[in-house]
Amino acid sequence: MTTIHITYFAALRDVTGYAEETLITEVVTAQALFHKLTAKYHWPFSEADIQVAINDRYQPTDTLLKEGDRVVFIPPVAGG
């Protein structure tokens, strides 16, 4: 089991209902965590829509999660 801190922004924050949560989870990759949370919160995004940041840097979705990682799922950006 791994302790993961998750931060939500924008549409994901609104749908999830809060900004941060900490999970102790058996999932091994960021991708698996995304699917687990999508099932729980009914996020209106597919995996193709989402990028993943781990410890404040973009990472591939199949990155293995480590104890204490901070994970952010990035909905489609729209700056500018």
Partner: protein, 152 residues
Amino acid sequence: MLFQLTDQPIETLIGSLHPHAGGIVTFEGRVRAVNDDKKVASLEYVAYPELALHEGHAIINAALKQFDILEARAVHRTGHLAIGDIAVWVMSAAIHRKEAFEATEYIINTIKVHVPIWKKEHYSDGEAIWVRCDRCTDDHKHSHTVKEAFSL
């Protein structure tokens, strides 16, 4: 006046630059009153600051490497903005203008797809929508949106 001649100094807010800088191109992105045929009342920009600053710096550094420019900078605003407010400002300075045009366009295009900043449009009918990838790859494609009706 569309075209003027003046013997007085022309002033902008860019300030002094590298003495070899002959061509400076800026982009400013402003909040539009209408987007996708909907009347926009105001806009809210939210950033993921730690990653946004890292990616923003990387984009400027990539432009400095990739184009023959002397300086480049960008600033993005967050929070609530009104119609006409400047949301993002980009500047490139080069010896010759061609490179400054290319670099500034590269920087704004890349900011729009890589920097984790999100935009919630508040419409005059009370609806509010997180804009999804606003024309990030095609200036003429209509934006796709994630609807969250009445979340004001």
